[in-house]
Each structure stands twice: as structure tokens, then as C-alpha cells.
């Protein structure tokens, strides 16, 4: 991602942080980390509680190392998700929002296998958001059943995407939605309807 879109994403993260700080459920329950991937993947901010989250500034780089990103994501899920123990309440099914605007530039199948294993173990849900015209929808559909497309990367659509992500994290934090408490796997249906300018791929 380059130029105006990357700046809009940075702004979106600031608004996301501000929205979480106004929500007692998010402050109590949510923790956030950010992984980025260009020619390589790395953890931009490590997992912290919502109250300590500092939104990073993103920079534009070339490449779409999706395979490396999925490996890093699998590592993060395994390392950061903690089960219920006598001392700890246990982490609820992690939500992953993956945004990308390109075609993978590395071999991503090994990463996919590792991600799938980790996601199954921790009952994680991934929401893939394809940005702009050049995105590989088929690739995203292999990752998850929940694919959304944002064809126009305008600052407005990016802003409403982050509103929606904030809403989704807040909804998930509203301690365990009714469905979850009844043992139903969290699905897209639990999240708020996506904003205008964003299409859900079925």
C-alpha cells in the first residue's frame, strides 16, 4: 500500500484506539497486536491490553509476503493466546483482521498450513479485507470464509472500515456474545453489518 491509503490506515488506527478507550468492555477484555507484511513480515506492535495500545505509524513498502505473514500470525496465536488457568480467565477466540492490496509475492502454502493449525487450536476467526483493484480474491477465499472487498481505497471508505473494525472488536468484547456463551462458534453473523463501500464475498 502506498501514499494516501497508507496514511488513511494510520489515521484509522488512531481512531480505532480512541474508540477502544471509550469502551469499558474493550478496556477490560481486548488486547491488540499489529503485524505488517511487505517484502518481509514483522510484528509492528506486540500484544498489549486495549488501554496500553499505542497506534503505530505505517510506512509504504513494496512486496506482499503473505506466507511469511501467516507464519508470523501462527507464531503470535500460539505464543499470545493463553488458556484458562487458576490464575487467568483465559483468552477468548482471537479475531484477526487481515488487510492486503496485492498478490502474494512468496510461497504462502506452508504459512497457510501453519496458520490453519494455530487457528483451529485457538478457535481464531480471520476476516480478510481485500483493498483496491489488484487484490487476489481467490487467495483470500482460501484463507477464510469471511472475505470483504473495498474496491475504492478512499480515505472515507478506509475510515468507515476502521469504524467497523472498532465496532467488531467492541462487539466481541461485550463479553462473550450470547451465541458464544451457548457454545456456538463465533461467526461473521456476530459482527456488525459492514459499512458502505465494502462488499462481502460469499
Amino acid at each position: 500500500m502506498h501514499g494516501a491509503p497508507i496514511e488513511a490506515v494510520t489515521t484509522g488506527l488512531k481512531n480505532f484506539e480512541a474508540a477502544l478507550r471509550l469502551d469499558p468492555h474493550a478496556l477490560e477484555c481486548a488486547a491488540i497486536s499489529i503485524l505488517t507484511f511487505a517484502s518481509k513480515a514483522h510484528e509492528l506492535t506486540s500484544l498489549v491490553e486495549a488501554g496500553s495500545f499505542a497506534p503505530p505509524v505505517l510506512t509504504a513498502e513494496g512486496g506482499t509476503a503473505l506466507g511469511a505473514a501467516l507464519e508470523l500470525l501462527a507464531d503470535a496465536l500460539e505464543r499470545d493466546t493463553r488458556p484458562r488457568t487458576p490464575e487467568y480467565v483465559g483468552d477468548w477466540r482471537p479475531l484477526v483482521f487481515l488487510m492486503t492490496d496485492g498478490q502474494p509475492t512468496d510461497d504462502w502454502q506452508p504459512g497457510l498450513a501453519r496458520y490453519r493449525a494455530a487457528a483451529a487450536r485457538w478457535k481464531s476467526t480471520l476476516i480478510a479485507i481485500g483493498c483496491g483493484p489488484g487484490v487476489a480474491i481467490d487467495t483470500l477465499s482460501e484463507l477464510t470464509k469471511t472475505v470483504m472487498l473495498m474496491p475504492d481505497m478512499t480515505p472515507d471508505t478506509i475510515a468507515s472500515l476502521f469504524d467497523w473494525i472498532s465496532q467488531s472488536v467492541r462487539t466481541a468484547s461485550r463479553a462473550v456474545s450470547q451465541h458464544a456463551a451457548q457454545g456456538v462458534q463465533s461467526t461473521f453473523a456476530d459482527l456488525p453489518p459492514p459499512p458502505q463501500g465494502i462488499r462481502v464475498v460469499l
Binding site: 469499558p24 478496556l27 484458562r84 483465559g90 465496532q167 457454545g183 456488525p192
Partner: protein, 453 residues
């Protein structure tokens, strides 16, 4: 956006929703006085329920004091979808979640932390639920999301009244919020009712007063928190302060964040046991809402200021059999010399009185006497704004009770009326002094003793 009300008039709303929940989206009206809630999926049951809630049952929220306790819908919206119009929550009110979730509370101003406000809030919530239940209604989703409070004054307002369960008429629309849901609902062996509300109410009161969920402790039922919840919050849940099974009890009383229930005194300890030991499997064992009001009003009279200026909560309860040490900051309580204790007695006719169980007032400086102290059958106020009718003073080493506006404050000696203390005057609170607060047979008496710390 324009919405049409049932009476054919139109209301204009802001285009962007204020928020959105499981059942609907909420918009502020452009006049700034109300919000409009539009339901995602209106059911025929809801269509039947709303006219009753907006109509007949609205009398529950009549009167200044009661109207503040509920954000009662005042009109039905018919277009673009079924919805309701509700009064906007006043400035200064916040979701109760801010006080229940300690990480969230840590991000708020220190003035939001006051254990005394917590008692007042708990008592007001219980009053609001008592009034609903007294009219045959159940709330069905009592949770920190649906209760808004002013942390500074202790005022409370219940929202989401549109989810009310009208018995025999309307099946409930929601099952409630997991941590507050009654165990029999979690395992789908019941429908929401006033009995299931009583579980939610007990959980909320426990969390407000002791900062922890009563069923969440070290006992692990599953490594998956969702599955763990299904057991921990269900009929096989285990009260963290169970009187004979310590397996869900946080390691020791010294363990940060675990305060034993007995801090609140024997009456509340017994009630919480009924709610969280017997009540998990026998819903009928749960204390009714009115009994919580009764106990919490009495607790308020035993709340005293902590002796440490740095105490995060500022106030603590004094209870029979519990050492007078602040449970939150561990500072030993220092009271002024010869601080009086006012024991309440209820008239039972024929000039005879019997002690009110668990009811005594810590006669610290500024302690206020209210109308509900004086006689049976007077409802306690639901905020700290109530008008006192008498007040304890400390003047030149002498403890006195100042009569602000009690019509008949009488000193009794040797079983007979000795003298009347007119409004504006005061009486010294000597050991053994007997005061009559109102005329028999409903009136109550006070007998004075001293703290022995």
C-alpha cells in the same frame, strides 16, 4: 433521517447511529432530547409488547423519582422499521460497566471510585427492580450494559426497558448477558422471568460491593474459557465464598482482589449464600429484590469514611464481628472518642418495641437520619440527594443529634415521654438515651450506645 411515530407525527434523527447492539440501532433525535431505537428484526411478539410497555405499564415510571430510575420508552416508531423513542440519558450518566470492570475504572478520574456510591448504586438498582417486579414485569437482561449510573451522585437509570417480559403476554426477546444470566437459562431449562432477574441482580450487587464475579475463581472447568463459563456460570457453578467448599476461593484473604462476603455483615452474607449456593439450583431460594433494598439501606447506615486520605475507595462498611480495618487499604479505623451507635427499634404496639435485626447506625459526624428511619413502610430514596430530617453533630466533645425537620422527636425516660426536641434544636447523645422518631405504633425508636473499638 425522519422516522414516523405511531400517532402519525414525524421525528428527525441524526443520520449516523450513536451505537448498535444485538437487537437494534440507536439514533439521537435532532432536538437533542431523545434517542430512537430501530429494531433489526421486529417480531410479532415485540409488536404486541410495545403498546403495553409504552401504554399501561408506563405508570411504573411516573413521578419524578421513579421516572429517573428508568429510561422508559415514550412513543412507538412505525417507519422505517418498528422502534421506540426513549428519553436521552442525562449528562453525567455512564454505563455501569465502567464501575464493574476494574481495568476500565482505572482509566477514569479517581472521583469515580467511592465505595459509598457503590452501596447507593446497588440499593437504587434493587429499588428499580423491586418496582418492576411489583408490577408483574421482569427486565430479562439486567447487566452492567443496561444500567447507567452517575458515579458521583450514585443516581441510577435502567435502560432497554423495551426488552421487558410481560408475563403471560409476551415471550422474552433476549436471554440476557452470559455473566449475569441465571444458571437455569444458561442450560435452557427456563424462560426469563422475575426469578431469573434475581440471579442477575445478586451478581450485580456482589460485583459492585466486592469487586469480583461471585462464580469466577481459581477452579478451572475447561482450558477453553467459553466452555469454562458454561460450567462456572451454570447450575454446577461454585460460589467463590462458599461456606464449606473452598475450592473456588481465591487463595487467601490477603490475595489482592478477594474480599470475604462477611465484611458486609451477617444479613448480606446469608443472602449471598442463598443466591449463590442454594439459588444456583433452586431459583426460588434467591432473595427477592425488596430484601436486597432492605439490607442495602441498612448497610448504608454502617458505611464510614476511611481514616486514610489515600484510600482509593474512601469508605468502608462496619459490620458485627469484623475488625475495624479498611478492607481496601488496610488502614485501621480511627473514630472520634465515644462515637455513638444508634440502634433502631420497631414499635409493636402497646408502647412496646423490639430491635430491628441488623440495623444500627454508625453515629459519625454528619450522619443523617432520613424519613425511612422514622417509621415502617417509608421507601428509601434511591440517590444521595435525599433530604435529611436529622443529623449527628460533634460539638465541643459532645455528640448531639440535631433535629432538622422531624415533627415529633421525643426523649423517653423510664418508659415515659420526657421531653420533645423541636425542629432546629438538638439533644446530647448520652449512653442509653432513648429517642422516639415518630408516633406509635408504626414509629421507630433509637437507643444510643458507644463504639468499643
Amino acid at each position: 433521517m425522519r422516522v414516523k411515530l405511531q400517532d402519525g407525527t414525524f421525528v428527525t434523527c441524526e443520520p449516523r447511529p450513536l451505537g448498535q447492539g444485538g437487537v437494534g440501532r440507536v439514533f439521537r433525535t435532532t432536538d437533542g432530547r431523545s434517542v430512537v431505537k430501530l429494531f433489526h428484526h421486529p417480531t410479532p411478539e415485540l409488536e404486541k409488547a410495545l403498546p403495553l410497555i409504552v401504554g399501561d405499564y408506563r405508570r411504573i415510571a411516573d413521578g419524578t423519582e421513579w421516572s429517573e430510575l428508568y429510561r422508559w420508552p415514550d412513543a412507538i416508531v412505525v417507519e422505517p422499521t418498528l422502534g421506540v423513542r426513549l428519553p436521552l440519558v442525562a449528562d453525567g450518566f455512564h454505563e455501569l460497566s465502567w464501575l464493574i470492570f476494574l481495568k476500565a475504572l482505572a482509566s477514569r478520574p479517581p472521583s469515580w471510585r467511592s465505595w459509598r456510591s457503590r452501596v447507593v448504586i446497588a440499593s437504587a438498582i434493587a429499588s428499580a427492580v423491586t418496582r418492576l417486579h411489583g408490577s408483574g414485569l421482569a427486565h430479562s437482561d439486567l447487566s452492567p450494559r443496561n444500567i447507567w449510573v452517575d458515579p458521583l451522585t450514585g443516581r441510577v437509570t435502567l435502560i432497554d426497558i423495551d426488552g421487558l417480559v410481560v408475563p403471560g403476554v409476551v415471550p422474552p426477546q433476549v436471554l440476557g448477558t452470559p455473566e449475569y444470566i441465571a444458571p437455569e437459562l444458561l442450560v435452557k431449562q427456563a424462560r426469563p422471568s422475575s426469578t431469573t432477574d434475581l440471579h442477575s441482580l445478586a451478581v450485580l450487587i456482589y460485583q459492585l460491593l466486592l469487586y469480583r464475579h461471585p462464580l469466577r475463581g481459581p477452579r478451572v472447568c475447561s482450558p477453553d474459557p467459553a466452555e469454562d463459563d458454561l460450567v462456572a456460570l451454570g447450575p454446577d457453578g461454585l460460589f467463590v465464598d462458599h461456606p464449606s467448599d473452598a475450592s473456588n476461593r481465591p487463595v487467601s484473604e490477603e490475595w489482592a482482589g478477594f474480599w470475604p462476603t462477611r465484611l458486609l455483615g451477617p444479613q448480606l452474607m446469608e443472602m449471598f449464600s442463598r443466591a449463590f449456593v442454594a439459588g444456583l439450583r433452586s431459583p426460588g431460594a434467591r432473595p427477592p429484590a425488596g430484601e436486597w433494598v432492605h439490607a442495602l439501606v441498612r448497610l448504608t447506615d454502617r458505611v464510614v469514611a476511611c481514616s486514610s486520605k489515600r484510600c482509593p475507595e474512601g469508605f468502608l462498611p462496619l459490620s458485627d464481628g469484623v475488625a475495624p480495618i479498611c478492607p481496601w487499604c488496610r488502614t485501621p479505623l480511627k473514630l472520634r472518642k465515644r462515637t455513638p451507635v444508634l440502634h433502631l427499634y420497631q414499635g409493636i404496639g402497646d408502647h412496646r418495641y423490639e430491635p430491628e435485626p441488623h440495623w444500627w447506625i454508625a453515629g459519625t459526624e454528619g450522619r443523617r437520619i432520613y424519613p425511612w428511619h422514622t417509621a415502617k413502610g417509608i421507601a428509601a430514596a434511591t440517590s444521595m440527594n435525599a433530604r435529611p430530617i436529622a443529623e449527628v453533630e460533634h460539638d465541643n466533645g459532645v455528640w448531639r443529634l440535631r433535629n432538622h425537620e422531624l415533627a415529633e422527636l421525643r426523649v423517653i425516660r423510664d418508659g415515659r415521654e420526657h421531653r420533645v426536641i423541636p425542629a432546629g434544636d438538638s439533644v446530647a447523645l448520652h449512653d442509653g438515651l432513648t429517642l422516639l422518631l415518630a408516633a406509635p405504633p408504626r414509629g421507630r425508636a433509637i437507643i444510643v450506645s458507644r463504639f468499643d473499638l
